[in-house]
């Protein structure tokens, strides 16, 4: 059953009426809120101002917006330089370019310097859709979370993106924020708790736990509801902060349920599922199934078609849950 403390939307399970909104809208609004709270917050963009919703910040604070041009490596260096001089820079572009194209600058300039920069990767996951494999960032969690000093956050919907954006401006150090492309279900509310580093139990259960991040969590909730009709009580946990990861909640949920399915729109190698496995292998090993991209590139198509084809749809999650329960001793 749904966790009341998560304060999710009322019509959660009605897929037909749930509001759909792009996570990037949450980024635009969150950055404006951060800009109002702190005059040192600035925005850098690499020629994707409107698409990433950095334009909302630009409209409000035009003198604190820097158009870098299509130069993501330079953008990261410039942002770090500005942070060294007291600014709190947000960087906005697509995930395939940042952290995809400027990883060296992220590693040495942002992370080794422990610089106070907040970089965002929009359009991540295979659910980017028609743009095809070149623009579907599927490795970004893996290549960021392995760097010391970094915080990695993958919010699940519009509200959580807004909260994560605002919260990231308030902590010191490099933060990577991962966004989706198309409108995704808004299933949390203004009142849903959010804290960097804290997982949130969305649904209570005891037979297996789905641990996920991003908009696929909505599918996980629907799957859990459908499985409830079959007599299975499935717990669902939102790991918005992939690093530093909430080990306590992961271990507790594994102890309670004895089996884990990780769910992410990302390669299964090195992503959230790997991060969960790292925690459990060391502390409380239980069977785990991995939903995500299975070591392959995506292609053009509609988001839901692609999620189905690459094994991240509801049916695939359902099968994984049953399989992992079957593996319990």
């Amino acid at each position: 059953m749904l966790n009341k403390d998560a304060k999710l939307v009322d019509n959660l399970l009605d897929e037909q009426v749930i509001v759909q909104k792009p996570t990037r809208d949450g980024f635009g609004e969150g950055s404006v809120l951060a800009g109002k709270e702190n005059e040192n917050v600035v925005m850098l963009c690499a020629d994707l101002t409107d698409s990433t919703r950095a334009g909302m910040f630009k409209k409000e604070f035009s003198d604190r917006f820097v158009q870098i041009g299509i130069a993501e490596q330079n953008m990261m260096g410039v942002a770090v330089g500005m942070a060294m001089a007291g600014k709190v820079p947000f960087l906005s572009t697509y995930g395939v370019f940042c952290p995809g194209r400027n990883w060296d600058q992220i590693r040495v300039n942002a992370c080794y310097n422990n610089a106070n920069v907040k970089f965002t990767g929009a359009h991540t996951g295979v659910s980017v859709g028609p743009d095809g494999a070149t623009h579907q960032a599927l490795e970004d969690i893996a290549i960021t979370r392995c760097i010391p000093n970094i915080t990695v956050i993958a919010p699940c919907d519009y509200h959580e993106t807004r909260k994560a954006t605002l919260a990231s401006a308030k902590i010191n150090g490099p933060v990577y924020l991962r966004f989706a492309r198309e409108a995704t279900p808004v299933f949390t509310t203004n009142d849903t708790p959010f804290e960097i580093g804290k997982a949130l139990v969305l649904r209570e259960g005891k037979d297996a736990v789905i641990i996920g991040c991003g908009s696929l969590l909505y599918k996980a909730l629907i799957v859990a509801e459908e499985l409830a009709k079959e007599g299975l009580e499935i717990m669902v946990v939102n790991i918005a902060t992939i690093k530093p990861i909430d080990t306590e909640t992961i271990i507790e949920s594994a102890k309670k349920c004895g089996a884990v399915v990780s769910v992410e729109d990302h390669q299964v190698m090195g992503g959230l599922g790997s991060a969960v496995a790292e925690v459990l292998t060391k502390n409380y090993p239980v069977p785990q199934e991995f939903i995500g991209m299975q070591d392959t590139f995506g292609e053009s198509g509609q988001p839901d078609e692609l999620l189905e084809k690459y094994g991240m749809g509801k049916e695939a999650i359902k099968i994984a849950v049953k399989k992992v329960i079957g593996r319990k001793k």
């Binding site: 130069a71 990261m76 001089a85 310097n113």
Partner: protein
């Protein structure tokens, strides 16, 4: 100018030359102790570093390395850090004795500079071109805040091969960043050979002018001229400035000069002895650049 003023200037220059010589001797000593590191670049840039830190051209205070009003000196080609370390130590940022810890376990003098541990280091550097982007970022922030701080970024000529250099150069040109000066160590060598063989850079001057920069070319071993160039760079309005400092790699140590094999190699004991002897006795050779 009166004879008296000329005398003062000459005395000061003499002192600066002696400082540059001491920095060179320390570079040799550090590299010998560390048994790895780059020789040619640091020796070649000793006069430029002396001019920056001792030539009264920047706002800085070794006793207050975090002073907000300080100008920012960003070393982008981090591999020549022995010259930065030796200069900072002589300027009083940390004890000269610490130089011999270079590249050793637990040292603040990392093989490439690391921000946050050693006073006077403005940013971590090593992977090339990244310092210039950061220098541009610092300059943008100072402009936003209407602060007067100047930013000087030191780069290598081989470093100009990196695409990111030109991304940063384009942005600085676009923003007319007159609080930014780049000093390129034009010593014509990089690890694999002469720059013009590895990847031709000329005409560097035309390239920078085309990107909206003001270009000054200078003899990188004439401290007086370097000081003039930096002062000039501060006077240029609405343009970033690049000072192309023509230097001799390995300057001051005869067998290292002009030889690209010394780009990434330290001297052994015997070579270091010869080098130090030359620096102590043939200092006049460097002085002659001014006469």
């Amino acid at each position: 100018m009166s004879v008296w003023v000329l005398k003062i200037i000459k005395m000061d220059l003499k002192k600066l030359e002696q400082t540059a010589n001491l920095i060179r001797q320390d570079i040799i000593g550090m590299l010998l102790e560390a048994k790895s590191g780059h020789s040619a670049g640091p020796l070649g840039m000793a006069d430029v570093f002396t001019a920056i830190y001792f030539g009264d051209v920047i706002k800085h205070d070794p006793k207050k390395p975090e002073w907000e009003e300080r100008d920012r000196i960003v070393l982008s080609n981090g591999h020549i850090c022995p010259v930065l370390y030796a200069t900072l130590a002589h300027a009083g940022y940390f004890p000269v004795e610490e130089l011999k810890t270079l590249r050793k376990l637990g040292t603040r003098l990392q093989g490439h500079p690391h921000y946050g541990v050693l006073p006077g280091i403005e940013s971590t550097s090593g992977p090339l071109a990244q310092g210039l982007s950061q220098a541009v970022g610092m300059g943008i922030a100072f402009k936003m805040d209407k602060k007067k701080n100047q930013v000087i970024c030191l780069t290598g000529d081989g470093e100009q091969d990196e695409g990111q250099i030109w991304e940063a150069v384009m942005l600085a040109g676009k923003l007319k960043m007159d609080n930014l000066t780049q000093i390129i160590d034009r010593n014509n060598i990089q690890i694999d050979g002469f720059t013009e063989d590895v990847m031709p850079l000329e005409s560097l001057e035309d390239k920078y002018e085309a990107f909206g920069w003001h270009v000054i070319e200078v003899n990188g071993h004439n401290i007086e001229k370097i000081i003039d160039a930096i002062n000039m760079s501060k006077a240029i309005f609405e343009k970033p400035v690049v000072i192309i400092a023509h230097t001799i790699p390995g300057k001051g140590v005869e067998f290292m000069e002009f030889d690209f094999k010394w780009h990434g190699m330290p001297p052994n004991k015997e070579q270091a002895d010869i080098a130090l002897k030359q620096l102590r006795t043939l200092g006049g050779k460097i002085t002659s650049e001014h006469e």
